[in-house]
Assembly symmetry: C2
Amino acid sequence: MTSKIRVAILGYGNLGRGVEAAMPYNTDMTLVGVFTRRPPEAVKTLTDVPVYHVDELLAMKDAVDVLILCGGSATDLPVQSPEWAHHFNIVDSFDNHSKIPEHFAAVDASASSGGKTALISAGWDPGMFSLQRLLGNCVLPNGQDYTFWGKGVSQGHSDAIRRIEGVKDAKQYTIPVDAALERVRAGENPELTAREKHLRECFVVAEEGADLARIEREIKTMPAYFEPYDTTVHFITQDELDRDHAGIPHGGFVLRSGVTGLSGETSQLIEYRLTLGSNPEFTSSVLVACARAVVRMDKAGMHGCKTIFDVPPAWLSPKDGAELRKLLL
Amino acid sequence: MTSKIRVAILGYGNLGRGVEAAMPYNTDMTLVGVFTRRPPEAVKTLTDVPVYHVDELLAMKDAVDVLILCGGSATDLPVQSPEWAHHFNIVDSFDNHSKIPEHFAAVDASASSGGKTALISAGWDPGMFSLQRLLGNCVLPNGQDYTFWGKGVSQGHSDAIRRIEGVKDAKQYTIPVDAALERVRAGENPELTAREKHLRECFVVAEEGADLARIEREIKTMPAYFEPYDTTVHFITQDELDRDHAGIPHGGFVLRSGVTGLSGETSQLIEYRLTLGSNPEFTSSVLVACARAVVRMDKAGMHGCKTIFDVPPAWLSPKDGAELRKLLL
């Protein structure tokens, strides 16, 4: 009889809740506790898992097989992942693509010196989308990559709108442009601008008496965030926003369009699509599967920092090799 | 400077030609030779690669890093893979799903005793589709798998039609039923019969004076092959068949429809789609990427029989870890 994998959560927001909710679906794992910087009694969990202050975490080292870091990529993970990777096997969802090499190096140094295994940038992008990009590149080396996001809520763009004077609340959807997707599917291998790939649709609650025309102009001309895109702005009431836009759906497409044959005469297309009812719950589900693999890599002596690119896929599964070959190969 | 991976091909049909054609896209590899059971001078290759008789293969052991077996799953691979896995690192595309456990055991015994690495069942199904089924199961453990094939040519079904009296030539397309795909995408998690999932469309060239009504009836009532499906039969001329149905396109869909959230209240959908201009050329491209991984697994001391489930995805790529993290993560 194998004992269950003992998981701890650090940070209890949307991601932490997602990991907690994913536990019953992963019966080879057990949740030891939620660790938080807040007073533990102030944290209301979904289940009866114990809540501890983060100051108690180090002392519980021997009771935890893997620590899932559920903080944000802007300020939490750049500090927390290197800090905890020395003492625990960890998984994080660091998603600042341009800073991944730097984050990897910091976590690798810490995990290696501690003799632990860390897996960074798990989730869907980076994560499952990255894996699809890699597989597409390996199988069709003569080809082109396309990633489209949406339809889904962009937290960063929603926040940017909320910072505009006169805006009370807002939600922004990123939407892939169908015509661009169709050109890729048709094997045209187009060079696409930001505007050709994605639309931005904004639902904005304005403060009473605010100048709506000015708000709309400020959104549409905001550099980097909205100016390079065709943007639509809808002013709605807070009730409407709460009623119709409460979810955090997301998703998107990874396509690899390539050619084979001695003269490149044959078109081949790989398309991977996610349609996610909840962005954080899906990300959490990936974190949990990766946590299983991290424990196995640690046992196999594969220490230091890893990514999804390094994980033998079978190690993400609770099933053994013979079962997987029989059922899924 | 790393030296190139030295590849040999055993068996020169559609798959062997596909591997040969894939070589220029994989500049870290070099093709040492094509090995055949036929008189070598009777084999006309696409490039100027040397052709040898299979009897010369064993003597060239030290000149080959990995042998790609390009024979068929019915009679060639069950014999060849166990035979050659003892002497060479090998990759095969064994695709008889129900016999994979048996094939794995035979190849594993041979490769293990020879201290070599073998990877079986590479291609798209089994292969990339299997990998997507595995990933879907790991990330959404509470869900259902759906695999649809097509639109594409089924060699087995085309052959079955050709064996009917009065049939000169034939091509059969397997076509996924849109309505079934849409029900899966809508999160209905339907139980689907064979008839609900796929259509079969047949293009048949009859011999002069043959009884067309009888041929059509024999096709449509053929047990297992056509009886469980809605089948359409078109009689056409040999010229039309040669002109309009010369290609070997294929593809299909792997979907994982699942739920997350503590009460399973959130729908999540993963969809993977292949649209292949040439089934054998794509399969060959997968074989080549797997051959690279096999050489690395051998160097790492990971001997015995493996499948795509055991391969760290980064090992399929010619790029190193840092480059992959920077470009694709």
